[in-house]
C-alpha cells in the first residue's frame, strides 16, 4: 500500500467495471466517465470530477444503465454525449446517450437514449468517435463488420453510411480512429492489426502476426501507434513500415491489457495489465527527426524506459484514461471498481 498517498481513490463504483473514459469536451474540469460491468444488477455510469483543489474525486452524476457496459466512450465535442456498448445475457447493443440535465440529483436518473446503433448482426465490440473534435461520423466495430454511421444528435438520427465485412475467418475485437486522418481506422483482428480506409472501406495496410489487445495512435506523430500484445508486451509501430516494430517495451508480468499515449507529452505512454499494475513509460520514437536526436535517443535507450509502476491495485486493470484537460493526470479503473487518479508530474519533470 505504499503508493496510497499519491493516488486519489474514488470508491463510488459498487460493481465490477472495465470502462473509463476521459470527458474531452469538458474544458473546465478533469472529468471521467466510468461504466460498471455487472451481470445481475442495474449498471451505472458515473461522471467523476476531480475537485478544483485536485485532491478529491467527486461524483458529479450517477446514471442508471440497464445492461453491463463493455465499452464506453465520451463524445469528443459534447461533454454530455457518450456511447456505450453493452450486453445482457445473449443480447448485445450499442447506443449513444445524452446525460440529462442534472436537476434531480437525489434519484439516479436515466440516460436519454439519443440513438441506438442496432444494425449489428454480430457481437458489438466498440464504438469509435473521431478523437479530436466535431465530426459527424461514428465507427462501430463488431466481431465481423465495420460500420460507418452518420450521426445527427439533435434530430436523434443515425444512418449507416457504409459497412464492410471482414469475413468469417476473422474476428474483430476493437480498434482506434487515427486522429491525423479521418479516413483511417485501425481494427484489431485475430492475429493482425488492419488499417481501414473509410472512403473505400478497404483494408489498406496491416501489421501481421500480432495478437493485439489494444491499440492507440500517437496523437502527436502521424503513422505512429502503440499496441498492447499477447507475446511482446507493448510495441510501437510506424504504419509505413508495418513489418518491424520501432520499439518494444516489456509490458506487464501478465497480460498487457491497454495502452494509451499521453495527449500532450510525446513519448509518455501508459499501460495497464492484468498483473494489477499500471506502468508509465517514456520512449522516444525518432521517425523523421531521428538523425537530430539520435544521441539523445541512444541515451534514452540505455535508461530504463519504465518510469514508474503503480502497484496499488487489488485486481486486474482494464481501464486507463489520460485527462485531456490536465495531461499530467490519468485515471485507472481496476476490475473491483476502484477508480484511482494519479498525477505523473514528478516523472515528467525529471525529463
Amino acid at each position: 500500500m505504499q503508493g496510497a498517498s499519491t493516488g486519489i481513490v474514488y470508491g463510488g463504483l459498487k460493481y465490477q467495471a472495465r470502462c473509463i473514459a476521459d470527458v474531452r469536451a469538458d474544458p473546465d474540469h478533469t472529468s471521467f466517465l466510468a461504466g460498471t460491468l455487472s451481470l445481475k444488477e442495474e449498471n451505472e455510469v458515473h461522471l467523476i470530477r476531480l475537485s478544483p483543489s485536485g485532491n478529491e474525486l467527486l461524483c458529479e452524476g450517477l446514471f442508471y444503465h440497464q445492461n453491463e457496459i463493455w465499452d464506453l466512450k465520451s463524445c469528443p465535442y459534447d461533454s454530455r454525449i457518450l456511447s456505450t456498448v453493452y450486453t445482457s445475457g445473449e443480447t448485445y447493443g450499442a447506443s449513444v446517450w445524452k446525460i440529462p440535465e442534472i436537476s434531480s440529483q437525489s434519484n439516479s436518473p436515466q440516460l436519454d437514449q439519443l440513438v441506438s446503433l442496432d444494425d449489428h448482426t454480430a457481437k458489438i465490440k466498440s464504438v469509435l468517435w473521431w478523437p479530436l473534435g466535431k465530426h459527424d461520423k461514428l465507427v462501430t466495430i463488431d466481431e465481423r463488420n465495420i460500420f460507418v454511421w452518420s450521426i445527427d444528435s439533435s434530430n436523434k438520427i443515425a444512418k449507416v453510411i457504409s459497412q464492410e465485412s471482414v469475413g468469417m475467418l476473422h474476428n474483430l475485437s476493437g480498434g482506434a480512429w487515427d486522429p491525423h486522418d479521418r479516413n483511417a481506422v485501425a481494427a484489431i483482428c485475430d492475429s493482425s492489426l488492419q488499417c481501414w480506409d473509410l472512403r473505400t472501406m478497404k483494408n489498406a495496410n496491416a501489421i501481421e502476426h500480432a495478437h493485439i489487445r489494444d491499440v492507440d495512435y500517437n496523437p502527436k506523430k502521424q503513422h505512429i501507434l502503440a499496441t498492447a500484445e499477447d507475446e511482446f508486451g507493448i510495441r510501437l509501430w510506424d504504419l509505413r513500415m508495418p513489418k518491424i516494430p520501432l520499439k518494444e517495451l516489456p509490458g506487464h508480468s501478465h497480460w498487457t491489457w491497454a495502452v494509451r499515449h499521453n495527449p500532450e507529452y510525446d513519448g509518455l505512454i501508459l499501460s495497464a495489465g492484468t498483473d494489477s499494475t499500471v506502468n508509465l513509460w517514456q520512449v522516444s520514437v525518432g521517425s523523421e527527426d531521428s538523425a537530430i536526436d539520435s544521441p539523445r535517443d541512444k541515451r534514452s535507450r540505455q535508461i530504463d524506459p519504465l518510469l514508474n509502476s503503480y502497484t496499488d491495485y487489488e485486481d486486474s486493470i482494464y481501464g486507463i484514461a489520460w485527462s485531456s484537460q490536465d495531461p499530467s493526470v490519468f485515471a485507472s479503473l481496476s476490475y473491483d471498481g476502484r477508480v484511482v487518479v494519479e498525477s505523473v508530474k514528478p516523472y515528467i519533470q525529471r525529463k
Partner: protein
C-alpha cells in the same frame, strides 16, 4: 677678483678676434658665422641691446647707449676697472692686427718669388716637346713598315699549323677502329669509350661523307664494346664494381640503360616469384646479395628494389593470412612468422630504406590479431554448435532426453574451449621470437579485447538463437531479423532453457576462471589509452550474462505460457457458455493443460537444479497462504448460502469479497523467478491460472458453464499441487480466483454439489488411469 675672471675674457677675446678677422675676409659669411656664435644676441639684439653689456661685438653696437648703460649700472670702481680692462684689450687688438698684417705680407712676398721662378722654367719646355713629337712619329712609321713586311709570312705559318692539327685529328679518326679493337682486346673499355665519345662529334659532322668507312668500322667496334659490356653486366660472376663501371660506360655511350635495368629487375622479380612458388629453392641470403649488387650497379633503382622487397614480404604475409583463414595452431603461426622475420632482417641489412622491419612488425601484429580473432570466432562456433548441433539431432526425435547432455556438452565447450584457447595463446609469450617481446602488451590487449568481444558476441548469439532478438533490434538491425524470424519456431523451448542455464554457468564459472587466467598470464597491457580502461571487464560481461540468463529464462516461461494460453483461449472462446450443457465429465482441456505442464516439468528437471532455499520460500508463502486458506472457509460457506441467493445478495457478496481482499495480504503471484525447478514450474502454472481467470472474466455463462469450470478447477487442484511442491497456497488462491471469476460471470451461479463433484473427478481419474494403463 680680476685674477679669477681673467681667463674667460682671454678666451672670449681670442674668439672675438677670430670672428672679427673672419668678417674681414668674408664679408658675406659674417652674418652666418656670427649667427651660430651668438644666435640669441643676433636675433634679440635690438630689444635687448640697452640692457646687455655683451653686445659689444654685434654689428649694431651702439657705443653711446653702451656707455650710458655702463655708467648707469656700474659704480665708480667698476667703471675704473672696466676702463683699465678696455684699454688693455684695445692694446692687444692693436698688436694682433699688426702681427696679422706682417704675416700676410711675408706670404705675399714668397708667392711672388715662386711665380717668378715658374715663369723662367716654362720657357725652355716648348722646344723639347716639339722634338719628342717628331721622334715618336718616325718610330710609328717604322713599326708600320715592319708589320706589313712580316704579315704574309705569319699568315702562312698560321695556316700550316691549322692543317697540321686537322691532319692529326684525321689520323686519330682513321686509327680509331684499330685502336678500339686494341682496347677491346685489352678489355680497356673505359679507354675505348673515351676515344669513341671524343670522335663522336666528327662522326656526327662528316660521318656521311668523308669518314664513312671509318665511322662504320669504329661503330662496329663500339658495338662489340657495348655487347661485351652488357655481357659483363649480366654475368653474375663479374665483380660488382666491374658491373657498375660497365653501366657507367654504357650510359656514356648513350645506351638505354634504363631498359637494361628494368629487364634485370624483372628478372629479379621473376626470381622472387619463383622463390615463393618453390618456397625454399633460393635462399633469402642470395636474394639479399642480389639486392645489394643491384643497389650498387643502379644507384637510382633503390625505389624499385624497395618496392620489390616490400612486394615479396607482403605476398608472404598474405600467404600467412590465407593460411590463417583455416584454423591453425599458434605454434605453427609462430614458426611461420619467425621464418619471415629472419628473412626480413637479412634483407633489411641490405635495404634499410625499405623500412621492412616496421612493415613486418605491422603485418605480424595484424596476423596475430587475426589469429586471435579467428580463434575466438572458432570458439564461438564450437559453443553454438554444441547447442544448436543438438537441435538437428533432436529433430530426429527424442528431443527431451538429451537436453541434459546438451547442457553438459555446451558447458564443457564453453569452459574447456576458452581455457584451451588461453593456453594456446599463451604460447605467444613462450616463444623466443625477437618480435614478440615488443608485441607482448599489444597481444595482451588483443587477448583481453578478444575475450570481451567473444563474450559479448556469445551473449548476442544466445539471444539471437533464442529468437527473442526481434525484440531488441529496432530498425537498425532489421536485416538480421528477416533471417531470424524463423528461428523462434525452430529452436525447441527446451534449448532456450539450456541457453539460459548456460548463460548462468558462464557468468558464475567460466568468467571468474577466465579472469583468473588472464590475470595470471595476460595481465598488464597498458598500450591502450588509460581512459578506455582494461579491455576485458569481467564485471560488465557478468552483468551481460546475468541479464541474458534472466531474459532467456523469462523467454522460456513466456514461450511455455503462450503455448498454454493458446490452448486456453480456444477452450474459452469456442463454446457458447450461455448455452452450456450440464457438465458430465472433466473437460479434455484439462488433460492438455496438464500434459503441457508435465512437459515443462520434464524439461526443467533435466536442466535446472532443485531449489535449495525451498524452506525459506515456503515459510514465506505459508504466511500468506494461511490467511488465504482461512479465508477460503467462510467463502465456501458463503457460497453455500448463495445457492439460495438472489440478485440482492450478489451485491453484498461483491462488497464482502472486496472487503475480504482488503484485509487479506496481497497475494504475490508475480514473484521473481529463480533458477530452480520449483520456481520455474510454479511461475508457469501461476501465469496460466491467471490467464484462465482472465479468459473466464470475458465470458458470460449459464449455470452449467459455471459448474463445468468449477469441476475443471477442482480437478486441477490435486495434479497442480503435485507439480508444485512448495507453493500450494498460491495455487489454491488462483484456482479459487478462477472459480470466483466464473461465479461472477455466471447468470445463475449455483455450484455443483460436493458429492457430484467428487464422483465426476474420480470418474476422470479412473479414466486417466485406464488410458495410461492401456498403452503399457
Amino acid at each position: 677678483m680680476a685674477g679669477v675672471s681673467s681667463p674667460p675674457p682671454m678666451d672670449e677675446k681670442a674668439k672675438r678676434t677670430r670672428d672679427l678677422l673672419a668678417s674681414f675676409y668674408t664679408n658675406t659669411s659674417n652674418s652666418n658665422s656670427a649667427a651660430p656664435s651668438s644666435p640669441s644676441a643676433a636675433s634679440n639684439l635690438t630689444p635687448r641691446s640697452p640692457s646687455s653689456l655683451d653686445s659689444i661685438n654685434s654689428p649694431s653696437f651702439d657705443a653711446s647707449s653702451y656707455m650710458s648703460l655702463l655708467v648707469q649700472k656700474s659704480n665708480l670702481e667698476g667703471l675704473l676697472q672696466k676702463h683699465v680692462q678696455m684699454a688693455a684689450e684695445i692694446k692687444n687688438l692693436d698688436t694682433d692686427l699688426q702681427m696679422l698684417v706682417y704675416e700676410n705680407y711675408n706670404k705675399f712676398i714668397s708667392a711672388t718669388d715662386t711665380i717668378k721662378r715658374m715663369k723662367s722654367n716654362i720657357l725652355g719646355m716648348e722646344t723639347n716637346m716639339e722634338q719628342l713629337l717628331a721622334k715618336i712619329t718616325s718610330v710609328q712609321s717604322k713599326s708600320d713598315s715592319v708589320n706589313t713586311s712580316l704579315f704574309e709570312k705569319r699568315e702562312h705559318i698560321e695556316k700550316l699549323h691549322r692543317s697540321r692539327n686537322l691532319l692529326r685529328k684525321v689520323q686519330f679518326i682513321y686509327d680509331l677502329p684499330s685502336r678500339l679493337n686494341k682496347c677491346i682486346k685489352a678489355e680497356a673499355y673505359a679507354d675505348a669509350v673515351r676515344f669513341f665519345t671524343g670522335a663522336k662529334p666528327i662522326f656526327e659532322a662528316y660521318g656521311d661523307s668523308s669518314f664513312q668507312e671509318c665511322k662504320r668500322a669504329s661503330e662496329e667496334a663500339i658495338n662489340t664494346v657495348i655487347q661485351n659490356l652488357q655481357e659483363k653486366l649480366y654475368s653474375d660472376s663479374e665483380p660488382i664494381e666491374a658491373r657498375a663501371e660497365a653501366v657507367v660506360l654504357l650510359k656514356q655511350l648513350n645506351f638505354p640503360v634504363d631498359n637494361l635495368k628494368t629487364s634485370l629487375l624483372e628478372k629479379l622479380e621473376d626470381c622472387l616469384l619463383k622463390l615463393e612458388d618453390e618456397s625454399k629453392d633460393v635462399s633469402v641470403g642470395e636474394i639479399s646479395k642480389t639486392f645489394r649488387a643491384y643497389l650498387i650497379i643502379f644507384p637510382d633503382s633503390e625505389q624499385r628494389l624497395i618496392e620489390l622487397a616490400q612486394g615479396l614480404f607482403s605476398r608472404r604475409y598474405d600467404a600467412v593470412r590465407d593460411q590463417l583463414k583455416k584454423r591453425m595452431l599458434s605454434v605453427d603461426l609462430l614458426e611461420l612468422l619467425g621464418i619471415i622475420w629472419e628473412d626480413v632482417s637479412t634483407v633489411d641489412q641490405v635495404l634499410p630504406e625499405a623500412a621492412l622491419p616496421a612493415y613486418s612488425l605491422e603485418s605480424t601484429c595484424s596476423s596475430i590479431r587475426q589469429h586471435i580473432s579467428i580463434a575466438f570466432s572458432h570458439l564461438q562456433h564450437e559453443i553454438s554448435d554444441a547447442v544448436a548441433g543438438s537441435q538437428s539431432k533432436s529433430n530426429e526425435g527424442r528431443d527431451e532426453l538429451d537436453l541434459q547432455i546438451v547442457l553438459e556438452n555446451s558447458k564443457k565447450a564453453a569452459m574447456q574451449g576458452s581455457l584451451d584457447l588461453l593456453v594456446e595463446l599463451r604460447q605467444f609469450f613462450d616463444e623466443k621470437l625477437e618480435l614478440l617481446p615488443k608485441l607482448r602488451e599489444l597481444i595482451t590487449d588483443w587477448v583481453q579485447e578478444g575475450f570481451q568481444g567473444f563474450f559479448q558476441n556469445l551473449e548476442k548469439h544466445f539471444i539471437l538463437l533464442s529468437g527473442s532478438s526481434t525484440n531488441n533490434c529496432p530498425l537498425g538491425e532489421s536485416n538480421h531479423s528477416g533471417v531470424l524470424t524463423q528461428s523462434p519456431d525452430k529452436l525447441p523451448t527446451g534449448l532456450v532453457l539450456v541457453l539460459s542455464q548456460l548463460a548462468v554457468f558462464i557468468e558464475q564459472s567460466v568468467i571468474p576462471k577466465i579472469t583468473e587466467e588472464i590475470a595470471a598470464s595476460f595481465s598488464g597491457g597498458g598500450v591502450r589509452a588509460y581512459e578506455y580502461g582494461p579491455a576485458f571487464i569481467p564485471g560488465e560481461i557478468c552483468r551481460l550474462f546475468r541479464s541474458a540468463g534472466e531474459k532467456l529464462l523469462h523467454l522460456y516461461i513466456n514461450m511455455k505460457t503462450r503455448k498454454i494460453s493458446v490452448v486456453s483461449k480456444k477452450r474459452f472462446t469456442t463454446p457458447n457458455w450461455i448455452k452450456h450443457k450440464e457438465p458430465r465429465e472433466v473437460h479434455m482441456f484439462v488433460d492438455i493443460l496438464l500434459q503441457e505442464l508435465e512437459g515443462v516439468k520434464i524439461e526443467v528437471k533435466q536442466i535446472l537444479p532443485c531449489g535449495v532455499i525451498k524452506r525459506h520460500r515456503n515459510s514465506d508463502s505459508v504466511g500468506s497462504g494461511s490467511t488465504n486458506s482461512s479465508r477460503s472457509h467462510p467463502n465456501a460457506m458463503r457460497e453455500d448460502k448463495l445457492t439460495r441467493s438472489n440478485t440482492q445478495r450478489a451485491r453484498s457478496q461483491f462488497l464482502e469479497s472486496h472487503l475480504a481482499k482488503l484485509f487479506e495480504q496481497k497475494m504475490e503471484i508475480f514473484t521473481k523467478v529463480e533458477y530452480t525447478q520449483e520456481s520455474v514450474i510454479s511461475t508457469v502454472i501461476k501465469l496460466c491460472l491467471k490467464s484462465l481467470q482472465e479468459f473466464v472474466r470475458l465470458q458470460t455463462s449459464n449455470r452449467s458453464g459455471y459448474q463445468q469450470i468449477q469441476l475443471d478447477m477442482e480437478f486441477l487442484k490435486a495434479p497442480l499441487k503435485q507439480l508444485v511442491d512448495d507453493d500450494d497456497a498460491a495455487i489454491d488462491f488462483l484456482l479459487k480466483e478462477v472459480n470466483n471469476a466464473a461465479h461472477e460471470r455466471c447468470l445463475d451461479p449455483i455450484p455443483l454439489e460436493a458429492p457430484i463433484l467428487d464422483k465426476l473427478i474420480s470418474a476422470k481419474l479412473v479414466k486417466n488411469k485406464d488410458l495410461s494403463a492401456s498403452p503399457l
